[in-house]
């Protein structure tokens, strides 16, 4: 009974449905804790589009192997139809849990309803779905992009707390319309509004790439001679900006300060070298937290509807310390 209440509290209507389905083959969730080595989890990944994503895949695979849980893995190559096919096949195979990172935000209701009908709990990782019906998934595990923007803004606020003159900030945005780009800009703007000396004088998209960041920065350096700080929505654009700043005969990290988000290895190296001043982490290592969610559900416990990835921030000193153990 306890586990029934637990699951109901988890926000899933699964209990009743799983009860109906329990005569059938799949839907182990409602039948009490399954030994870990008999659990089967299906994971549908977005693809392998960035270093970040590859690290995410490796971490999830390693975490499940360590926990002794069988993981069925599929790569959707950034296509929603592939991901829907993968989820359908997991439902047919009668896996115990499904986890996936949705390629896009919308269009998931049908397939998630099928999973719900089959009594298979679904966990979202890294990206959210846009659905009216939040009973379609048990939990969403991922970063809070607005919070990341706020952390970056907070560092800028502290750094220039005593500034008496105007501080000229330029922003290198991510791909126009992407959730991380919108949210990281929003969080940052909200925090720096507290000090009216801080002003974003130019903001352009660098498409999350190094080449993009470099080209935008080159042009900005020419049309705005007194840039004090660059805020880049990811490390790669920040690394591109470093090149542009050096080509202009300035010293990145000193003449122009740089704040970025992500903390991939190349970015951390630049931070340790003093070329970047501050990095807000956006961790791809959510395998362990995903295993925790699944074992908790398996034992009949409840999980939060929204779980934020454990993330930190890095200063230059912290980067030098953390760099040798950096996995990605």
């Amino acid at each position: 009974m306890k586990k029934l209440i637990g699951l109901a509290a988890a926000g899933a209507l699964i209990v009743g449905l799983a009860g109906c389905a329990s005569g059938g083959s799949g839907g182990g969730a409602a039948e009490g804790p399954v030994p870990l080595d008999e659990l089967v989890v299906g994971f549908a990944q977005v693809g392998a589009e960035s270093g970040w994503r590859t690290a995410n895949t490796k971490d999830i695979q390693a975490s499940f192997e360590e926990a002794g849980i069988e993981l069925k893995f599929s790569d959707a190559q950034q296509k929603q139809e592939n991901q829907i096919k993968a989820i359908r096949s997991y439902i047919q195979q009668g896996v115990d849990y499904i986890a996936f990172s949705p390629v896009v935000e919308t269009g998931w209701d049908a397939v998630l309803n099928e999973a719900k009908a089959a009594g298979i709990p679904v966990v979202l990782t890294d990206r959210a779905v846009d659905s009216q019906d939040d009973s379609l998934y048990v939990s969403f595990l991922g970063s809070d992009f607005i919070e990341e923007g706020k952390k970056a803004g907070q560092w800028v606020l502290d750094e220039y707390a005593d500034a008496t003159e105007k501080v000229n900030i330029v922003q290198l945005e991510g791909t126009t319309g992407a959730a991380p780009a919108i949210d990281r800009a929003e969080g940052f703007a909200e925090v720096i509004a507290e000090n009216e000396n801080l002003e974003v004088i130019a903001s352009q998209t660098g498409d999350f790439t190094r080449a993009g960041g470099k080209q935008v920065m080159e042009a900005m350096l020419k049309s705005n001679p007194d840039i004090d700080l660059v805020y880049a929505h990811n490390d790669d654009m920040g690394l591109g900006a470093i090149e542009a700043i050096e080509a202009a005969g300035l010293v990145p990290g000193e003449d122009i300060k740089i704040v970025t988000v992500d903390a991939v290895k190349d970015g951390m190296q630049a931070l340790a070298d003093g070329k970047i001043n501050f990095i807000v982490e956006c961790s791809p290592l959510l395998g362990k937290q995903l295993v925790d969610i699944i074992t908790t559900l398996n034992e009949g416990g409840t999980v939060e509807k929204r779980i934020i990835t454990e993330e930190t921030t890095f200063t230059q000193e912290q980067a030098i310390e953390a760099l040798p153990d950096r996995q990605y």
Partner: protein
């Protein structure tokens, strides 16, 4: 006087050059120091230098693309070839014990270029021997090529720390960006080879009528192999510059949609997609228009949401001004004006 002006307007290069000047003017208004070129740390520094340097890869590919289009073909695979050459070069440099060694970089660049020749021959084989339509034939490598680059880099972004390699993308030689020098050499070689010999005319004849040129004794098959191989070779050079510029091989993004920029540069330059007559000078102007357009967006501070619309408007304007129908209408208008003026003179 008016005859000179009329001939000028009739020139295929007239409207692209006007567009380039208009873009320069917009930049100058937004940022008065636009034309300033200074010496910084012993090299040239300024917006115009940026346009030349960042436009170099597009120009190099567009030169190859011009010759392909002149044969009534098209090469969609150039972006993927960029990604492959960058991936190959970076993985060789990373795999060597001494990445900063000039010889290592030379080997990496040579291997990357050699592989591009193979890829070009593949495209040429599909088009010239199997007779597959160029857009389909090169679509194969466009899709598969990026996958190959992903396999080579194992899905990672490979960062290389090799000064001699980096110099290809962002280094200077006697104060001039090396990328610009490379582009100038490619352009000059293509121009000399095709315009100082009969090669250019033979390529055009294949584009105008393959069957007639074959019967006239032109070896269409060999020429097709040559242009597709040259185009892939150009793409590989551009890929190396792009990769060196960002000091990393990014299989997903390097050269992405560059095929479209290159085709656009060729079309803006007045070369028809229907094959035949081509203009390398036009391609040069086309590539400069595209890169200036990108720089304008950043200099003027056009918001990212409006960027695409702005670019589309400029490109649409160039195409409209160049279209034969518009030109005829304009010419008719001018004739009527001249006629009316003439009548006025006669009456008085």
């Amino acid at each position: 006087m008016s005859a000179v002006f009329a001939r000028l307007i009739a020139s295929r290069l007239f409207w692209p050059i006007v567009m380039l000047l208009v873009l320069f003017a917009i930049n100058l208004i937004a940022f008065p120091g636009f034309f300033a070129i200074t010496i910084k740390d012993g090299h040239l520094f300024g917006s115009l230098i940026d346009i030349l340097r960042n436009g170099a890869p597009t120009l190099i590919i567009a030169v190859g693309m011009t010759l392909v289009i002149a044969t009534r073909g098209i090469d969609l695979s150039v972006g993927a070839v960029c990604a492959i050459s960058g991936a190959v070069a970076c993985s060789i440099i990373l795999g060597s014990p001494d990445p900063a060694n000039g010889a290592t970089v030379a080997v990496a660049v040579t291997v990357a270029l050699a592989i591009s020749l193979v890829l070009g021959v593949w495209n040429g084989f599909l088009v010239a021997v199997l007779g597959i339509q160029p857009i389909i034939a090169t679509l194969i490598l466009m899709t598969a090529g990026r996958g190959m680059a992903m396999l080579i880099t194992e899905g990672q972004i490979l960062t290389v720390n090799s000064p001699p390699f980096k110099a290809m993308g962002s280094g200077f030689w006697f104060g001039v960006p090396i990328a610009v020098i490379i582009a100038a050499v490619v352009f000059a070689v293509a121009a000399l080879l095709t315009r100082r010999t009969a090669l250019g005319m033979l390529i055009e004849s294949v584009g105008i009528n393959p069957e007639a040129s074959r019967q006239a004794g032109v070896r269409a098959r060999g020429l097709l192999f040559a242009v597709y191989t040259f185009c892939a070779f150009c793409a590989a050079i551009a890929g190396l510059i792009l990769t060196a510029n960002q000091t990393a091989a990014d299989a997903n993004n390097t050269g992405l949609f560059l095929e479209l920029d290159a085709i656009l540069a060729v079309v803006i330059g007045g070369t028809s997609l229907a094959g035949g007559r081509y203009s390398l000078a036009g391609t040069l102007v086309g590539a400069l228009v595209i890169q200036t357009l990108v720089t304008t967006v950043y200099t003027v501070g056009i918001p990212p949401i409006a960027t695409m619309v702005f670019k589309a408007a400029v490109v649409a304007a160039v195409c409209l001004l160049q279209s034969p129908t518009t030109n005829q209408a304009l010419a008719g208008f001018r004739r009527r004006l001249a006629l009316r003026a003439g009548k006025g003179i006669a009456a008085s």
